[in-house]
Amino acid sequence: MSETPETSEVDGAAGDGTPAAGGALGAAGRLAVRKTYKLYIGGKFPRSESGRSYEVRSADGSRFLANAALASRKDARDAVVAARAAFSGWSGATAYNRGQILYRIAEMLEGRRDQFAAEVAAGEGVSAQQAALLVDLAVDRWVWYAGWSDKIDQVDGSSNPVAGPYFDFSVSEPSGVAAIVAPPRSSLLGLVSVVAPAIVGGGTCVVLAAERCPLPAVTLAEVLATSDLPGGVVNILTGQVGEVAPWLASHGDVDVLDLCGVDDPALAAELEAAAADNLKRVLRPADPDWTADPGLGRLRAFLETKTVWHPIGT
């Protein structure tokens, strides 16, 4: 299953890309260069316009991992603008092209397996072995979705045998811009499982990463930025669900609201009610087994069915 050599015991001390690596001099006597975890908006990596950040600690709270950007209302706004701007190009690309780009992302993910595994292990508090497995699943999940780009319409579309001299067919089209609250505990596999279905059909998204373990999301952003994915197709925010999600839920230029990762039922209800203002399609909170076969439910949730009629005659 794993072709890469076993990574070091992921404990953050090896200077190997683990978050907050190189707190001390490594074995080779070299101080590691740490990464700044920033937002990903419109293909760029800005800090929060608010200048704020928040401390990300290991799952057990024992270790400081990094400071993540604490996204603000305006960051959310900018992300929606970027997602909207990217929509026409991305939805207008051929399905083959989207599939190619998504597959390219999987290739890039594969190349960063170690880094992801380290971040997942640290952030989710799972064993290195379990983290590696989750990363593998995430890469495979991405590959699975990538392949759907030029197949979903063949499965979901139809030609409709209407009772009259008309050719009538239905095709799937992306709903538009989705705002997604990523699963709070599955920081990479869960994230990938909500982002990929949102974009494979041509939609664009703003995703709010798992609040307490956002680091894999930022690393995913780095993968996306180097994978030919047009800027703005995926925009990743880190921050607090309670602060940012309401702005996304009430945003008039967001078409789909995925509340997947909203743990608090009262907040979820509030967000769903806010989404009613412009009749967003809403996916309610869900905490499925992310390792299981995801089915087509999520993929379909980001698509519209368009039916076209034309007379048949000479």
């Binding site: 009259g164 001299p165 008309y166 007379p311 048949i312 005659g313 000479t314």
Partner: protein, 315 residues
Amino acid sequence: MALTAPPLADVTASADTLRRFLRGLPPVDQVGAEARAAALATRSIKTTAKAFALDLAVRMVDLTTLEGQDTPGKVRALCAKARRPDPMDPSCPAVAAVCVYGDLVPVAVEALRGSGVRVAAVATAFPSGRAPREVKLAEVRDAVAAGADEIDMVIDRGAFLAGRYLDVHDEVAAVREACGHAHLKVILETGELATYDNVRRASWLAMLGGADFIKTSTGKVTPASTLPVALVMLEAARDFRAAGGRQVGVKVAGGIRSAKDAIRYLVVVNETVGDDWLTPDWFRFGASSLLNDLLMQRRKLATGHYADPDEFTID
């Protein structure tokens, strides 16, 4: 009405201008045209409206016999019927015309003298139109000289389908000239033109060439007249007049056998071109058996019960 066409006079300046003009006419969507005709066919024409329509239809009939076995006797019988379609009912109007082959025009002229019923003759190598132009023109001149009031010519469908539109036009114009005082009806034979786009183009061609009437069919080809074909031709006549042309009549012929069918055509006329065309001067039915069904329906309306077919003369 604004029509994005060049002035009609220039249209036939050359084969090119004519072709461009015809191709520039708005296309006809088959399904839409047929749906419109089908919707009009659901109109319910009852009581006074039906009485009006039946009488009007009788007055619009070109009572026709176009058979190899036609004889003077047959034509005289038909003419008698044309003058007094229902001998038992003096209120029944005469038909518009009797339509025969050219050689029988003298018989019909004689039989209809003083009746006001006109004599129409088919000409130009009816029904195929396959003869040298001089032969066709001679046929027309002969029928007119014999006293025909109306000439029903056929267009050269071969030329039309080959794209030689100017030839078709010129032939219509030549026949128009040969007709002299006689009215010219131009048969498009829509069943051979196959598409509504062709029907519209052929209608314009005939009207540009000088047709007084455009007519659907010879009756010798299936399909003959249909409601949507009539609709498209009426629209063409309407548009031609609106574009600065003359008012041109429309004649539907072939396969119209029942009063119900005839009334449907009148509804299409009424709701497509309106009152201006609702007279025998501007709309005709080419038919034979239709007349008796019109008469039976008249009788039913008058008496309230269904009649015995043998109460009406067979010719």
